[in-house]
Amino acid sequence: MTADATLQRDEVSGDSGGGHRSHPRHVRIQPTRGWVSLRLGDLWEYRELLFFLAWRDVKVRYKQTALGAVWAVLQPLALMAVFALILGHFLKVPSDGVPYPVFAYTALLPWTFFAQSLGAASTSLVTNANLVSKVYFPRLVLPISATLGFLIDLGIGLVLLVGMMALYSVQPTWAVVLLPALIVLALLTVLAAAVWLSAISARYRDVIYGMPLLIQLWLFASPIAYSSSVVPGAWKWLYAVNPMVGVIDGFRWALLGTSAPGPEIIVSVAVTIIGLLTGMAYFRRTERTFADVI
């Protein structure tokens, strides 16, 4: 019940807490100082809330719209159409031997997931300010749940991709089994950026205004409209500091059979993991004042 969910087990039972220190559900509230542990166990205890919030976001997203779930694929499709016409058809941007529309759409899927969930997750603390100031739960639940819901949109987009691949007769390779791992990498990349940005947004709303600009710049810094093979060798390592490079190259490789990502993908993965860990640490450090400043 509430029980397990409402309260986490105490981190300091057996201290000088007076009374009955051996109480099975003793929680001590005290000021925390400096850096604190990530306490991922808390998140696990609140997994139901996490899924309920994600479910709420999905349920509510396209309510009272005429097109409904079509919106989930409209954005990548529209961008694909523009890219295919101008870049693919007029400019003849090379697309690694794959028909340009499929080439662009395959990249636009993880990109749309990234851009939409990053936008929602970075502002999740602000949009749920009433929850933050009225109820206790690990605050990391908010950016995470805001991200999870977009996996469904990604799923719908993938179904459409299967149809497109059939249309252009593009065969996936064995590497398609790695697609779930690549989706997880995309998810972690979103979270790495979102925990940083959402923690900052609790105090500084600048994040909300800067978000569209950031996402636009990021779009051009990722191999979506073009192939990452245009990046000259010496720059590849620096280029891969953008973790979406690894994700998108991975998607194309797994689904379209383009060349496998080079060793630079290690840089992408490392940036994601370091960003996520430092972001979560920063989030945990600042979350104690969220309710006061939000």
Binding site: T6, R25, S133, D206
Partner: protein, 413 residues
């Protein structure tokens, strides 16, 4: 001695009040600050405000404790710390048992979702498992009286239905320690009564309840013990009656005579209110054998019809009775311009010992009423020579002592 459920020790919560409000700064300033030297940073005028100042509090299992205090006394901050919404600056809180905190009802309700969906979501937010919500679903819907609309988005609900549903989800919680903030006052009068009934049930089930409220009537009814906060400090603690009396002293103006500076546009304006004893001497302390006289001086500027004075008496901030100067007349008099004084007398023996305050409402139905809340106050004490006989008065339940006319006769041998 029963086990402790909540132990608060040396609890303080500090807020920073800078030029930009609590703990809020512009990003550019934070960055420029970071480049300044420490000494200069300190010189920025940052005020610190203690919302809670070294509060100690112990609550045993099964106790129902009320937290009272004026606005800004620190009640809500205390709740926010206890519910772990915000961290304390100093001190510790130990909670023993499953705790649920309700700072408001309907937190996280989404207007686009149906009643059914909101029950599930709100349940999860309040910490209930899916199985528990499913088990209590029918009970919640029935209590909220929204059966017919359970699959309608709550944005189509009336505000009454909305709060009833919100309260019902909250009321289905079964924690060992319940921390609640004024969530009682929801819905119409009938539903409020039902809520209060439910809260009384919770209290009687042996749960530990910490109840924060402005509604002193509800505190008096529900709680056995109370704590009074003022400017972040605990200034009184003890049996609920005593603490509410201390609260009443804080909350109400002192003085036996109040002169007013009324709005010159009012057709009838109260210029002074005073409290006197039976002999007409101004005082605020009454013995049970005294009489209390409340005098109301008012100015009639234009001829008025239907002028009325309503006098309300409250004991320890709880409304006890209302009386009208027209009680004995069928129709209110027409009053010609001039200065008037109305006097109202009560035997103090009728009023139970405690802190009393008078609220006035004057005016005419056509021109509107002027309300003067707690305009004067006085204290009734049981300090007569007969104290020993009448000592029971303080402990007897209720707010007034009616000298009922008792007769006893033997009917059968």
């Amino acid at each position: 001695m029963p086990d402790l459920a909540v132990a608060v020790s040396g609890l303080s919560k500090e807020y920073r009040l800078g030029a930009h409000g609590p703990q809020y700064g512009r990003l550019t300033e934070t960055i420029t600050d970071a480049f300044r030297r420490r000494g200069r940073r300190r010189s920025r005028s940052v005020e610190h405000f203690l919302a809670l100042d070294d509060v100690d509090l112990e609550i045993s299992e099964g106790e129902v404790v009320g937290i009272v205090g004026r606005n800004g006394a620190g009640k809500t901050t205390l709740l926010k710390v206890l519910s772990r919404v915000t961290e304390p600056t100093k001190g510790t809180v130990d909670l023993y048992g499953r705790v649920s905190a309700l700072l408001e009802v309907g937190t996280g309700f989404h207007p686009e979702l149906t009643g059914r969906e909101n029950i599930a979501l709100n349940g999860a937010i309040l910490g209930m498992s899916r199985a528990e919500v499913a088990r209590k679903f029918d009970e919640i819907v029935e209590f909220a009286e929204v059966e017919r609309f359970i699959d309608t988005p709550v944005k189509r609900y009336s505000s009454g239905m909305y709060v009833r549903l919100a309260f019902s989800v909250a009321a289905s919680l079964e924690p060992e320690v319940l921390i609640i903030d004024e969530v009682l006052a929801v819905g119409d009068a009938r539903f409020q009564k039902k809520c209060l009934g439910r809260m009384t049930e919770v209290a009687r089930e042996g749960r530990t309840v910490l109840f924060v409220s402005h509604n002193t009537g509800a505190v008096a009814e529900l709680c056995t013990r109370a704590v009074l906060l003022e400017q972040g400090r605990k200034i009184s603690e003890g049996p609920v009656g005593d603490v509410l009396m201390d609260y009443a002293r804080l909350a109400e103006p002192d003085g036996h005579e109040v002169e007013l500076d009324p709005d010159p546009d009012l057709p009838v304006a109260v210029t002074a209110v005073s409290v006197r004893d039976g002999a007409g001497r101004p005082t605020t302390m009454f013995d049970l054998t005294d009489e209390v006289e409340i005098g109301i001086t008012y100015h009639v500027r234009r001829p008025t019809h239907g002028f009325q004075i309503a006098l309300g008496l409250a004991r320890n901030v709880i409304d006890v009775l209302h009386t009208f100067d027209t009680d004995d007349e069928e129709e209110a008099d027409a009053r010609a311009p001039g200065l008037y004084e109305a006097r109202c007398r009560f035997p103090a023996s009728f009023l139970k010992a405690g802190l009393w305050s008078a609220t006035l409402s004057t005016g005419t139905p056509s021109e509107g009423f002027q309300s003067l809340e707690s305009i004067v106050r006085f204290e009734v004490e049981d300090r007569t020579v007969n104290t020993q006989d009448k000592g029971y008065r303080r402990d007897r339940p209720g707010h007034v002592i009616s000298p009922g006319r008792w007769t006893t006769e033997r009917l059968e041998r």
